[in-house]
Subunit: 336 residues, 2 copies
């Protein structure tokens, strides 16, 4: 394996070639000064979020391809912007790297970062680089949202139905597959691949988030990062309501059942406690379900799935068969 002796200056140059944006981006100055400078955007508020990713806690370099890790470093932040109904505009990307890391790793990771930013017209405007024995990534995304239209966690109302935008538990199952491929060799690769990809290379729901933000038909929304049990509990708690989820209604990828069987984990547990699906969970205002579902279909987007409803009684309950169980905050916690 090639040793790099990468220098901070080299890395800064790698990034400095990007981040200029086009004329419509509102960017006045990108990378290369003390600060990046950008204009106000008429008719909008700003949203901003940050995630820190630490090697061996949030990712494992031994099986996470650097390009996909670059994409995911950005995607997890884009997902937060999507969850506000926002449009990503600018990103700041910082990385602390072990001195021994290969050039190839850095350039692949960087390629992934730029791919994910580019796909969502999000302009890299700053960041920082450093040396560290533990590879650490910090990304910030700044987005815009129509003035006074940010979709908060705190606005769910009793009687609203709860929806998710895709399958649940896939990323949690994918993580188990990546950790121990041999365990799942009896399962067909066409079943394993989508689960693995959901962990390694999640696609943030930016287009759907934007549509839901503009629809005026959504009550509360957030993204699924810590597992449904925890994420819906945030909505319930902050809205002063409760949530009832029907396990039978939770959408699952084809491979989830055989993987869970090998793990000895109930499918529903993986779906409510597995983290990092980066789908959206949201409530729909009363009597708006049919209209919203029709708008989503007309826009050519994947259908969303009704999984439960908002109730007055606090807490989050899951119905499995005919039994109810309390699952509030029973989500995923990163190791370590």
């Amino acid at each position: 394996m090639e040793k790099s002796g990468w220098s901070e200056l080299e890395l800064i140059k790698l990034f400095a070639d990007c981040g200029r944006g086009d004329d419509s981006s509102g960017l006045i100055k990108g990378i290369g000064d003390d600060c990046a400078v950008f204009e106000n955007l008429s008719g909008s508020d700003w949203v901003t979020t940050t995630d820190i990713l630490v090697e061996r806690v949030h990712f494992d370099r031994s099986w996470h391809p650097p390009r996909l890790l670059g994409r995911k470093s950005v995607a997890v932040n884009l997902s937060d912007v999507a969850a506000m109904g926002g449009v990503p505009r600018y990103a700041l990307v910082s990385i602390a790297l072990p001195p021994t890391i290969e050039h190839q790793w850095i350039s692949e990771w960087h390629r992934g970062v730029m791919e994910m930013l580019g796909a969502h017209k999000c302009v890299l405007i700053g960041g920082d680089t450093a040396t560290s024995e533990v590879l650490t990534i910090n990304v910030v995304v700044i987005g815009s949202v129509t003035t006074a239209h940010a979709l908060m966690r705190s606005s769910a109302q009793v009687g609203e139905n709860i929806y998710v935008s895709g399958t649940l538990g896939s990323a949690g199952a994918g993580l188990e597959i990546c950790r121990n491929e041999d365990l799942f060799s009896s399962i067909d690769e066409t079943c394993l691949a989508p689960l693995r990809r959901q962990h390694l290379d999640p696609e943030p729901e930016v287009a759907l988030g934007k549509l839901l933000g503009r629809s005026s038909m959504v009550g509360a929304m957030q993204d699924l990062s810590d597992g449904l049990a925890t994420d819906i509990a945030h909505i319930a708690e902050q809205s002063g309501v409760g949530a009832e989820i029907d396990a039978a209604a939770l959408p699952a990828a084809d491979g989830l059942e055989p993987v869970c069987r090998i793990l000895g984990t109930p499918v529903a547990s993986m779906q409510v406690s597995g983290g990092e699906d980066y789908k959206l969970v949201f409530t729909v205002k009363k009597q708006k379900d049919a209209e919203l579902i029709s708008v989503i279909r007309e826009c050519g987007m994947e259908p969303v799935h009704r999984i439960g409803r908002i109730v007055a009684d606090p807490g989050v309950r899951l119905k499995v068969g005919s039994k109810w169980q309390d699952i509030s905050f029973q989500g995923y916690e990163h190791r370590g």
Copy 2:
């Protein structure tokens, strides 16, 4: 020493009690949702910057008091905003902590962060926490600047004089003192204390930066983080000009000479190559020197020091005695 077993939730709660801002802050939603949300600010552009601080590369926990490290984590970013002529508004603070760290350390560090933010009316609106074997801090500051008035590095003009806002080399000398106190026991504590403090607890030049930004009398500006030799080289390179600095004009704290004598380092070397002074270096538009100096005095601020001038010939040259030497980019690089 008490072991903590701190939890992420506990840390989030520590931070969640802050960050609400007052009515004038433009903050719509602080910590507690997927993103923070803030309003446009009429008549302003936005500036933003980020710094990643890694244990044993950027700071040493064995002698850096946590409260002062918290202050400095924020200060280095406020300094970048000051260098654009901006006003700090919002901050995102992330920290990855070893699982064994003491509660006391975290709460002292947090106190320092909030002190420094509070002193500059900068509102904490987000962040992230994680576990890591290497203590790592990432801070982002978002500030505002009068529309089209951000002070770039690229606007220095031939014939302008170069100024700095305080003593140079103090932080570099302070770092040496912190690393090896015994070496300097012959020097009076009244000489050592200001140097040590300049490294441990630098005060960002926010008020001066704001005044200079609004004065319309400054050409180019940046903050002194990598040492004058590198920082002024950025201004020269980006402005397509050169800089001549007079070593005899570089302001020094009282303790600098005796400390440098013990280190065997020429005073001028420490002044141009020692990093992290977090003063401002700027050029003053032609024929505006007297007026600007008078405005600074009238505002009750510390006097600034003329140290050289912008010339057509590229590069940065330092005059020591009657000899010139090239010092372009001969600044400080963090260890590791």
